[in-house]
Subunit: 92 residues, 10 copies
């Protein structure tokens, strides 16, 4: 089941540089692991913004919620979720 | 070069049923042709809305503009365009 | 899988009264049928508005999209969809 | 009398971890107690957001206000309230 | 139980003058009747707008919904409803 | 001359508890004094929000501005002001 | 008593040209008359928009409402009203 | 003096095709004439939208207003105007 | 050349009281000086808000930008600028 | 390939003055270098705002993203990106 997710990050300006480096590294590892399992299908940077557009392929709403709450940057993110369905004109 | 495009359709309530059927059929054919050429990479229905989320892979801004203005439903669409870049955590 | 759906209806002011009565009756029948099958779990009127808040319990995104596009009033509706998950403090 | 309530939590980034754990635990206990009394009828997580959609069944506006102001997380919440009425097409 | 209601009217520009006069007269009669029964507690014009701010004192959500849907101008109105409670600093 | 005023309070999360108690007490005293003089005609809590809807009956804009700037919580408030006029369908 | 008023005009696209010319002429005459009496203190065009910013100097809310509802273009206008007070740093 | 102007066109869906062709041709001629005189400095299409971003170099606000009101498509346009100044880091 | 400028002030809640008094005094002096030179034509308080509506009469965009950036409260202000032109119905 | 970029800066109110001076100087140098290479085609100040409107001429989305993320003020900026195409009425 597909979902489009837009994540926008706003780090507090007083975040400790080491804490920042650590959470950003954890985020990358988390994102790459889920891409390898196939649940995080696409991950694109929105140009000029600390924001990404992602496509998830998951078993359902509960699993998507579990993944998003598990994001190391979750406390600093504004997230919007758009459920997707097959389009009648899609060829694949 | 990738772009996320969100298209929302609002047909006038007094549109002639035949004119509607004709423009919708033309839209489908147009969308399928561009999917086959590879420029219209993904096409998803946003659940419960007369709206889609699409990913285009084109040579640049002018080509994307040409494609979108050529959509048979263009006069009835509200379109937003988000340029995408490679994300540093993407694995592909 | 649960979804909250907010539907707001805006009928064209020049809609023929018979056509209106007919589509409203079809809408009611459609809503009641899906409530009986259990997919349309809750249906509430938002006070003072031609709008409802509904909870759907469906197999997934594609099924929800199919239900919503099938609404007789769909062409006159503005719809927002919020995927729901189990809340960690829910007792049921 | 039914109300839909959307609560969105934004904890200050400098909140002490123990204070945070304490208020979150108090919130859970508070929510569960009101679910057991029947006033907090439904409690769902909005997928991917520190937000819930709840349905309250209370004696009136004053009681709902009392419940919401009593939420341990109230100072950190953005809350919207939508009064609900019986829908003419509802079967229950 | 008190509710603040903001009603904004937008008449279609092609409404027949007689139909308009008739619905506006019916609206006035309806508003005055409910003021006399005490349910429509206050009715103020918002300066320079085809809009009013009203306070209703009703038995609950279902009754308020019934009153608002019964407004002769309802099909042409945009309505927002704000439930009110007693304020701890109110002297009356 | 009547005005509807909506006041929404956002206290800084690091406000000293004693300073908070003091300013809240001053606000209550201020609100009650003006209710007794008749200038602060109505004061209602908006359900579930640190917000009130008030009606003021004052000599004019300058007096209303003086009252609002004098609110002890003014530095923490977001305020909107709606001038009111007599409604042609009002019975009082 | 001063008020800033922003008026934005949206004429229906199917308005009869003669009716349009007539209402626009009446509007001009109305605006000029009120400028001569001193109630319509300033009238500026907002560059590139069918919109004006005006300052009114009137006896109060009821009189301002009467003036604005009397505008020949009122049915086609979107109007916002901002009450003004003397600024403590104003020299006049 | 420079201004950024964003123009978005919304043609009525029932506009006669000949009238449309005529006004679009007049618009093009008007735009090209002002580009040749140097007042319409830049004219870009916003990708995928019936919208342009333009830079004007004019003697002042009154001249800009005159130009924009003279646009053949003006009655069908939504226009925003942003006054520009020299940027301290600009090299030209 | 006239411009309407709306300035809204939001002072940080942890601003030192002396620093605050100092910047507010400097702002007043700055505003009064420019009113005496004639460039700051009008200065009104928006009722109940830490906000003003001003009219400037300046040589052009660069001069207006210079004035606004020079405001002692500029770092704490949200500013919107609306270029004004002569209105065809203005009598002065 | 052209893009319009609007950058709005919001420096934290507790930023150290030296750190501020340093990042602002770095920003200026960065902006001037890219103007000299030709990629940062235009740079204008939006009057009265800590904001600029820029036009970039770059090889594509990835390059634009690289430039914007490299801005010394990037962590303090809100950025919007509008892809531009050749306008059919442009003469150059």
């Amino acid at each position: 089941m597909l979902f489009a997710v837009r994540m926008t990050v706003a780090l507090p300006s007083d975040l400790d540089p080491e804490a920042k480096a650590s959470v950003v590294a954890a985020e990358r590892e988390y994102a790459q692991r889920l891409q390898h399992t196939g649940e995080w299908l696409h991950l694109w940077r929105c140009v000029g913004q600390y924001s990404n557009l992602s496509i998830f392929d998951v078993s359902g709403n509960d699993r998507l919620n579990e993944i998003l709450w598990g994001l190391p940057l979750f406390p600093y993110m504004d997230i919007t979720v758009t459920p997707l369905a097959r389009h009648p004109s899609a060829v694949r």
